[in-house]
Homo-oligomer: 209 residues x 2
DNA sequence: TTCTAAAATTGAACAGTGTTAAATAATCGA
DNA sequence: TCGATTATTTAACACTGTTCAATTTTAGAA
């Protein structure tokens, strides 16, 4: 009986080994240099073996991204800022999110740009009601509700605002990743301006007050 | 003498033929299905010939994107809205831009996500002073200057605002392209809300008034 | 018009990719 | 220890981008 569990654990270890190797290759050489054969060489197995632990390359990629995703979520939620104003929390959350994602640019890009069902199951947030299903967007939504708690604003408008903040931040991150040679100071300037000013402007619904 | 010019024209025609074939394949089957051999088959030449007219696949891609780029620029500037308020112009510009890009999603993605020198020469706009060098961003900048003409706002802040609008819009477009299965009505809802409300909120510098 | 040099075009090959099927090696339960 | 099940590899297929030498086509001069 427990031999079955050991096998299960061994399978999980093998999957981990593969994912770690893939992750390393992506970090070291970039996403486009990742290949099945390169992963196999790194873990000293034959290329075919990967197809016993994963269906195809995309599934490997999906799992690599899932790991990154968890890191990012924890980076954002571990913000420990419960006794500050919701506005401040929003600003800090945005900044944390940007900084966390910029530490794993390739994984982030794979995840966010993949059109596969599996990837979209995690990354999509543009549909109506997303605010209730997506953890990351839900954090944002709660923040907005706090901000608007004294105003009367329709749920729909809040959701659309949350989604707008999300796409805007996504755009900023992607642009910073693609435009890889802007200097460090300019990068900081833009990140700060965006999260400290733009985000707050976006929140400023004109129907308020 | 004029035979040399004819040759030149023939070369240009051949390049056009290749680019058009590439563009068609991208539109029909998607960017990832584009291959040198497929282009060659489409124009009924051997694959090697492409290397006489272009250095490599990337150069072909860069030229395909350049075509798309021009279309988008003209779509935005042909907005014919000179006698409306700058705010309204801004909203309409944003909408036109989004609609134009969504008509050529693959070309747009290639262009905006390519990290090659050549591509970045056209697409980068995050650097300081971009507002004076990039035509598309310059349009935005002029609009903002009109809006702020009665306030005293530093040039730097205006540039950062323009850049923020640009990344935000980029994020929205990318997200809509990637999240390909949101319904048409939801897509419209988000585009409208973003360009009619969010954009105007972003413009609303708190140092104003 | 014929010959030669240059240009356009091709075929074949290289090194790489993802993926599959059959053959082999290792491991398990009886 | 034997038979069955699982893990792993080998070999192959159908692709990819790219290069280089051979070939065909074309242009200009004799």
């Amino acid at each position: 009986m427990n031999i079955k569990k050991r096998r299960e654990r061994e399978i999980e270890e093998m999957r981990e080994l593969i994912l770690k190797a893939a992750s390393n290759i992506i970090s070291d050489e970039g996403l486009d240099k990742l290949s099945i054969r390169k992963i196999a060489k790194k873990i000293k197995y034959s290329p075919s073996i990967l197809y016993h632990y994963f269906n195809d390359k995309e599934e490997i990629l999906n799992n690599v991204m899932k790991r990154g995703y968890k890191k990012i979520i924890s980076a954002v939620s571990s913000a420990e800022l419960k006794d500050t104003s919701p506005e401040e929390r929003l600003v800090q959350m945005t900044k944390n999110y940007i900084i966390a994602t910029l530490k794993m640019p390739d994984e982030f890009m794979v995840a966010q740009l993949s059109k596969s069902e599996e990837a979209l199951r995690h990354t999509s947030f543009l549909f109506k009601g997303a605010v209730r299903e997506k953890p990351a967007l839900s954090l944002l939504y709660q923040c907005l509700k706090d901000i608007y708690k004294n105003e009367e604003i329709e749920e729909d408008r809040i959701e659309l605002t949350a989604q707008s903040i999300a796409v805007s931040t996504l755009g900023l991150i992607i642009k910073i990743i693609v435009e890889k040679d802007i200097g460090e100071e300019q990068k900081q300037r833009i990140i700060d301006f965006f999260s400290e000013e733009i985000i707050l402007r976006i929140v400023n619904d004109s129907r308020t007050k």
